[in-house]
């Protein structure tokens, strides 16, 4: 809790810093109008850590679904760049006739020192017997860990969908991510700061995941991959009506603007491995998808069956 407060204080300090960087002057109205679309602020975290009995469940009204319990989330710092390389929330003006956009950009994290750690207890709860008077079938699947997640220059843009006939929120998203390991420890989390904890004799892990824009020869590059772009290939989030009168949550990644290609990303995994004191170890080596080009994606989420 103390560290969380510290993080909040950092945010407050950064907000204050923005106002004290230059001597303030009054602006005439006419000049002020030109400032339109440049509003925003910068913020950052320091010593961020969240631990406790927080649980999330994604599931049905009968109690079934996927549950993440005892969530632990923390981030390490780049103390030399807390102020120079912050998160930035900005309102940006777009071209004539287009709505303004809200842009959230993440630190460039060029030294890779900003590393997120996540751990949770995974429960998988089957509710199929409940309707017939049975009980929930709860399976404790172990601990799910994301270790050393690094983001470099992430950017998320939001704006109202420009088509007045199709309401919703349009997104742009570009990412470059490295993940130390995605690990499942079926007997509990043990030491979550270690990729291979001696105290966790059983685990399934994908180590060294890298996602970025693809290079010309289809390797993971050093630039962020633009999965969606507000101007050329927006991602729309809204609801749509079904034939039976119900509504569905709906995601739509539009075709790229005529004449343009969808950006190509690349994904690699350094190693996939099983470690076990009862079933033995197995090393499945590395894996990669050199080129990932999503030209169109429409997802209509349905109610339970």
């Amino acid at each position: 809790m103390r560290r969380f407060l510290h993080a909040l204080l950092m945010l407050a300090a950064l907000l204050g810093c923005g106002g004290s960087m230059a001597a303030l002057q009054g602006l005439p109205d006419q000049e002020l109008a030109h400032v339109h679309g440049r509003d925003g602020f910068a913020f950052n975290l320091r010593g961020f850590s969240l631990d406790g009995s927080l649980s999330l469940r994604l599931g049905d009204s009968l109690g079934g679904g996927l549950s993440l319990g005892n969530i632990s989330l923390s981030r390490s710092d780049d103390l030399g760049n807390t102020f120079a390389d912050p998160y930035q929330l900005t309102l940006l003006q777009r071209s004539e006739g287009q709505t303004d956009r809200v842009s959230l950009s993440g630190p460039l994290n060029s030294l890779g020192l900003l590393r997120w750690q996540f751990a949770a207890d995974l429960s998988l709860i089957d509710s199929s017997a409940v309707a017939a008077g049975g009980q929930l079938n709860r399976f404790q699947a172990g601990a799910l860990l994301l270790q050393d997640l690094r983001s470099y220059g992430m950017r998320l843009d939001l704006a109202p969908n420009p088509d007045p006939e199709t309401q919703g929120i349009a997104f742009g998203l570009s990412l470059r991510l490295d993940l130390g390991a995605l690990t499942l420890r079926p007997r509990g989390r043990d030491n979550i700061s270690l990729l291979d904890s001696p105290g966790a004799p059983e685990q399934f892990s994908l180590k060294g995941l890298h996602l970025a824009a693809a290079t010309a020869d289809m390797q993971v590059g050093s630039q962020a991959w633009s999965l969606a772009n507000l101007d050329s290939q927006p991602l729309l989030l809204n609801t749509v009506a079904n034939a039976d009168g119900s509504a569905s949550l709906h995601l739509n990644l539009a075709w790229p603007t005529a004449g343009q290609q969808a950006p190509t990303g690349s994904l690699s995994v350094d190693n996939i491995a099983f470690k076990s004191d009862v079933g033995g170890n197995l090393d499945l080596g590395s894996s990669r998808i050199g080129g990932l080009q999503i030209q169109y994606l429409d997802i209509k989420l349905k109610a339970g069956r």
Partner: protein, 271 residues
Amino acid sequence: MGALRLATSFLLGCGLVAKSWAQGVPLPDAQLARVWGQAMVEVSNTSVNGYDFSRITLNADLSLSANFSKIRLGEYPLATGLGNGSGADIDIARLQFGRSDLGDGARTVALSNPYLELVYRNGSDTSQREVIGMRLGFEGIQGSLGLSAQSISGSLAISDTQGHVLDSRLDPAGGKRWDGTACGPSACPFSLAAVGALQAGDANGPSRDFFLSILKAPVQFPTAVAGATAPDLAQAGLWLNWRDRLLAINPGSALPPNLPPTLPPLLKPGG
């Protein structure tokens, strides 16, 4: 002023200010309560043959146009005597979802109900619980694809329009790092590299048995879709299962193009 615009943008985006996307009708509390949590995620726990399966299904209909290239999954040396193939369990030069030369109907592939299934042994014993692996799959796939593969570990059956079937069950090595040129005493009708245009699903419905597994031991997965044939035993490593309603349109021909449209689509998103 900027803050006002920011707030307005959010409100417009959320549909709180402008007219609604459809003729909205208020829901009575009782009805609304039934809407909550009819979530898109469904969990199924089963125990079969000493294994504990937990399947997480996303109840969703997807339409996808995508191009994947240089796919190499599971790059590790096989045990001596098994042959190393091209050095990876799955080696696909090009996998395309959709094609752009047959009209708008073929531009996207319909995918339904993607799922992730975890496999454990001794699931109820907290000191002996062992994770065996997982699989990712779709309950249905229907549409035009393009495939050029060097080798695949898995259980595959691809028919052609002449009634020939390229079947990994005929591979003397059991389908591990198979390139579609070894079919036991029979001659393979075409190789995996020559598949080219591929049609998933037919007039009877979508293809129902696609999954990719990562396992440390062979596992007999349960059938994911009622009425579909049980899949073959999935082997250790990375393993692709796809046998149901697959047709190679013209083996040996070039991959079909899969380019974005040059004109804006007429159909509204989600329409």
